[in-house]
Every structure is written in structure tokens, then in C-alpha cells.
Amino acid sequence: MALGEASGLKLGQATRDAFGDALKDLGSEYKDVVTVDGDVGNSTRTEPFAQAFPDRAFNVGIAESNMVSVAGGLASSGKTSVVASFAAFLLCNAYDQIRMSVAFPALNVKLVGSHAGISIGEDGPSQMGIEDVALACSLPGVVVMVPCDAVSTKAATKAMLDHKGPTYLRLGRPKAPAVYQGGCDFEIGKAITLKKGDDITLIANGLMVPAALDAATELEKKGHSVRVIDMHTVKPIDEEAIIAAAKETGKIVVAEEHLSHGGLGSAVSMVVCENSPVPVAFVNLGDTFAESGDGDGLLEKYGLTSNEIVKAAEGLLS
């Protein structure tokens, strides 16, 4: 069964497509915005912006380090730089440039990483951003956003341009189930409760949000009252929502399309331990690279499914 199907969601745009549309649409109003690309604008979807505003779009070729520092230089001169590549190449290949040309001087650079997670499929591990959230969160002062669908991605794109300071926006390649049909009240650092419930809380972001909704549907059939939270911002994390979940439901499952270390699960754990210790279970990629294959097959093989969330929840509920 496809992601989101059990909870009645239809496939919508890929988050990268939603970002691309939103960026282009916002381009005329946000006149300070410029884009800096590294020869993958047709993959990250900065291309529509670049076509609409050619004088404000730069493509430096396959040179991510230079790309990021150029974005920093533009920002230090007052521009809002949107710099996009595959999550893996942006965060991994230009990390020091992000650290020193963006985060340390706290410049107004908007990092955008597409092709996050293993759901990109056939291209395989070299192209998969599976550590990007850990890396982005390790940059002091950088806001880290992982929206789950098209509607929230568009809202996140606007929020990112409105925010003063460096941000990271994580995007996926495949079409994403449409979680927010009637619009999304997206606020940086403010989690969205998608379902109320008292027995257990499922905290997820990105593609694992529809998986969590499916899992909740399943668990509710079995008589459990399940809270589902879209934790679209990993940093700053919504401590209040986590503490409330811990206090009110006493059990938490965290699901993300990311390595175990340094992702959403670790951020939630620290808040829980510091404020209201309760059992937490994790659904993530663990500590491994994936492989080539079709996206759905990979999610299945590496345990990033609603089934795994159900199992983790039942482990806590039993």
C-alpha cells in the first residue's frame, strides 16, 4: 500500500517541485532574493526562478564549495541568497563553507537540499542525503526545516525568506502524499498536531508524516488513542509540544527518513530526558548507507514504513 493511502491521502507534488514553484512566485515580491546553483538547478527546481529572473540567478558549475561561499558573499552585501543542491552535496561537500561563510557570520543564506532520504531510489547512496539534518543542526544558529508535503513546503519557503539569518530546507525527490489539503499554518519552530490522542504520540517529519498518519489509523483500529505531530522544524525544536506529548501521552515514537544519529530522534530525546523522561522508540535508517533500488522498495527494505511505526508503538504500548 502506498504511503498515506491508509489515511486517505492523495499523492501531491514532490516537495522540491513545490519549493520551485513557490520560489518563482515569491521572486517578484522578494526583490533581494538571488539564487546560486551548482549545475543541478533542474533537479533542485531553482530553474523556474532562474528563468524568470536571469539577472538574479547564478550557476557556478559543479563546485559546491565555491557555490556556498559565493552565496555568503552575496548575503554579506545585503542579498537573500538561496543556494540549492542535492542535500548530500550541499551539506557534505560544502560543509566548511557553510560553517565559515554562512553560519559563523550568521548571514542571510537559505540552504536548500533536495534529494534527501533514500526515497530517491535508483541513483543510490552517493546521491542520498541521509545525514543532512544532523549536519545542518550542528551549525550554531541555523534553522532546520523538513516539510512533509507540497503545501507545507510552500509555506516553509516563504517562512525561510522572511526569517533573518541562515536556514536549511530539506526537500525530497518523489511525489509526496498531500497532508495539508486546506492550507498549512506553518510557523518556524512550532510543531503542528495533525491528530489528537492520549495513549501515545507519533512525532515525524518529511515523508514519515504520512507514514505516521497511516500508522495512527492502524493503531486506532486496534483501540489506541494516537497523537500525531508534524515536527517540520528540527531546530529550533518545539520543546513545548514534546514536553506536552511526554506528559500527556507518556510514550513517543519518532520517525524520520534519516540516520539515527543527530536527527529528529536525537533532538526529541534530549528534550524528553531533560524535561520529562518517558520511553521513546525510533524509526529511522539506523547507522547504514542504503543502496540502489526503487524508492518504495528501499523504504520497505530499510524499515521506513507505517508498519515499522506501528510495531514500535505497540512495543511501547504493550
Partner: protein, 340 residues
């Protein structure tokens, strides 16, 4: 059916290589919901994957084997081209055009007597190494490896499928004979330099060959490697730039025009040649010249065409870059016919 395998000199003279510990595991192709049945047609029709050619088994014991004639090499090149198209169309993803431009270089290296390797003992420590820095072009490498006997030709149809070691980019952990895990552009020349230095430390005569994309030359790490390879005067390192004039988002002229590579690289202290890289004659000649230079690293700027062999079809499709997309089945059939 061509089956070319060179038994390396040292094996003939009694030395024994250490086999790699992981054994090769290739699963049969799995079906998937994602692709229409038709995409499997090329493999499922029962048509042999590799057009059989007339080159006979070589006499390994005399070790004159791999100095195939230019004509024989050209036949192999055609076989590789066909397999590149078949496997990427079957996978419904991948980079055929990027693979096609590098066919002559890879063919000459593997079958023209320039590389010592043992397809049945890929871990043989004194082998020569081939590093495909532009890892997305790995179909050309898989096609050559199948041809050389590293694994059977049928396995090419597992490209990019779950469970197959023929991943979308080369993975040295899973496929013996792959010398570097690439896919993030820019790293291969440095890896090759490390391998060239290891041969120096070990006092073996291993040589290293690295293929780099012209768009990839934008990565600063390549220029770091150029400088340090010159410092260490690694005479056993040969790099080839596959200058096919395109990168992902357009022509290199539009995206990042690096102009004349020879002029840029010679001042780094390398021996540089510029050739027509889809001419088997020129490729073989250039590799011979490179072989004769042993006091510094060697670069071959190989001017090629992206999608060489099926260009009229790319033109017809209105995209002579055709980056990162497989030929649709009908187009693939035409391409195979064109190559026959």
C-alpha cells in the same frame, strides 16, 4: 560472444594474488511496480544481451592476448554501446549519454593491452586500477567488466535494481573489480593518486587510470589532486578528461567554460595530450604515448561527443545533452538498430 580476459603477467610467472574476501553476489532482476512491463522488453524478449562478435578466445598463456587490433577494439566498443543503452533503458534510469562518450577510452584501457587485471581474481594486489571519477557513467564500466568476464552479461539487466551490486554509481564494497566508490563528483583523481602512491610504497608496478568529466573539472578537488600528483611525480598515474562538451544543466560553454584544458593543466607539471576521444586510433595512440612517460603524471584531454554513436537520435529528440535519462524503449530499439 566475446570473452576477453587477460591473465596478468605475475600470475603467469607463478605469483599468486589474494582474492577479495567478499564474494560476488548478484541476484536476478526483480520486478517492480514502478516501471511498466515494457521496459523489461529488451531483456525479456530472450534476445541475447550482447551481440555476438567474431573475436576468438585469446591465447592467455602466450600473454599476447589483449593487444587487440583496432578493428577488434571497435567491435567491442559497439558491443559496449549496445549494452549501455539496453541496461539503462531496462532500468528506466541512468546516464547513457554520459557513458557513450567514454566508450573508446574504456574499451582501449580494458582490451587494448594497457591494463593488467585478472577478472577471476579481481583483488590481485598488483593489478592496475581503473577509477571512474564521473561515476554516473558507470554503465560503460559495467559493460566493459561483463565483457572482460568479471561477471556474466545477463547480470547487466539488474542495473539499479534492489539487491543488485550493479548500483546506480560504482560501489567498491559490493562489486569486485570496482576500484573506487564514486558518484559525488571530484574525488576520483585523488583516490587514484592514493593508489598510485600505494604502489610506490609497495614497490609494485601497478598503474592507475582515472576518467573525469569535463563538467566535473569544475570541482576544486581535481585541481588539488593535479597539484599534489605533480609534487609526487607519480609516473604511474594517467587521467583522462572525457570532454564531451556538456554537463547536467547545459553545455560546458554555457555553464562553466573551462576553455583549453591542455593550457590549464600543463603548467601544473603534467604531461598533457589532446585527442579525439571517440577515435579508437587516437585513443590507443595516446595511451601508448602516456605509457612511455614515467617521470610525471599524464593527462589525456579526450574530446568526445556525449551520446556518441546515437547522436542523430538525440538530435531528433531535440536534446544533444540527454543528461541522466534513459532512452525510451522505442528510441532504444532505433539506437540498437543504428549501432548494428
Amino acid at each position: 560472444m566475446i570473452r576477453v580476459r587477460r591473465r596478468p603477467r605475475s600470475v603467469l610467472s607463478g605469483r599468486k594474488g589474494t582474492p577479495r574476501s567478499e564474494s560476488l553476489q548478484i541476484r536476478s532482476p526483480e520486478k517492480s511496480e514502478v516501471w511498466p512491463e515494457s521496459y523489461y522488453g529488451i531483456f525479456l524478449t530472450g534476445e541475447a544481451l550482447v551481440a555476438s562478435t567474431e573475436i576468438s578466445q585469446l591465447d592467455f598463456e602466450k600473454n599476447e592476448g589483449l593487444k587487440l587490433s583496432i578493428d577488434e577494439l571497435k567491435q567491442i566498443a559497439t558491443t559496449l554501446r549496445k549494452n549501455i543503452i539496453k541496461m539503462t533503458t531496462a532500468a528506466n534510469s541512468g546516464h547513457p549519454s554520459s557513458s557513450l562518450s567514454a566508450v573508446e577510452v574504456v574499451t582501449a584501457l580494458y582490451f587494448g593491452g594497457f591494463m593488467n587485471y585478472d577478472a577471476k581474481n579481481p583483488g590481485w594486489p598488483e593489478r592496475d586500477r581503473f577509477v571512474l571519477s564521473k561515476g554516473h557513467a558507470v554503465p560503460v564500466l559495467y559493460a566493459a567488466m561483463a565483457e572482460a568476464g568479471f561477471f556474466s552479461e545477463d547480470q547487466l539487466s539488474t542495473l539499479r535494481k534492489l539487491g543488485s551490486p550493479l548500483e546506480g554509481h560504482p560501489n567498491l564494497k559490493r562489486l569486485p573489480g570496482i576500484e573506487a566508490s564514486t558518484g559525488s563528483l571530484g574525488q576520483g583523481l585523488s583516490i587514484g593518486l592514493g593508489q598510485a602512491l600505494a604502489a610506490r610504497v609497495d614497490k609494485t608496478s601497478s598503474k592507475v587510470f582515472v576518467v573525469i568529466g569535463d563538467g566535473e573539472m569544475g570541482e576544486g578537488q581535481i585541481w588539488e589532486a593535479l597539484a599534489s600528483a605533480a609534487k609526487y611525480k607519480v609516473g604511474n598515474l594517467t587521467a583522462i578528461i572525457d570532454q564531451n562538451g556538456y554537463q547536467q544543466t547545459g553545455s560546458t560553454k554555457e555553464v562553466l567554460d573551462m576553455g583549453d584544458f591542455q593550457k590549464k593543466i600543463e603548467p601544473f607539471g603534467w604531461h598533457v595530450q589532446t585527442i579525439s576521444g571517440n577515435s579508437m586510433e587516437e585513443v590507443v595512440e595516446a595511451l601508448k604515448t602516456a605509457e612511455s612517460i614515467t617521470d610525471r603524471p599524464k593527462m589525456i584531454v579526450s574530446k568526445t561527443k556525449k551520446g556518441d554513436g546515437i547522436l542523430p537520435l538525440l538530435e531528433e529528440a531535440g536534446d544533444t545533452n540527454f543528461h541522466g535519462k534513459p532512452l525510451p524503449p522505442a528510441m532504444a530499439e532505433k539506437a540498437l538498430a543504428m549501432l548494428s
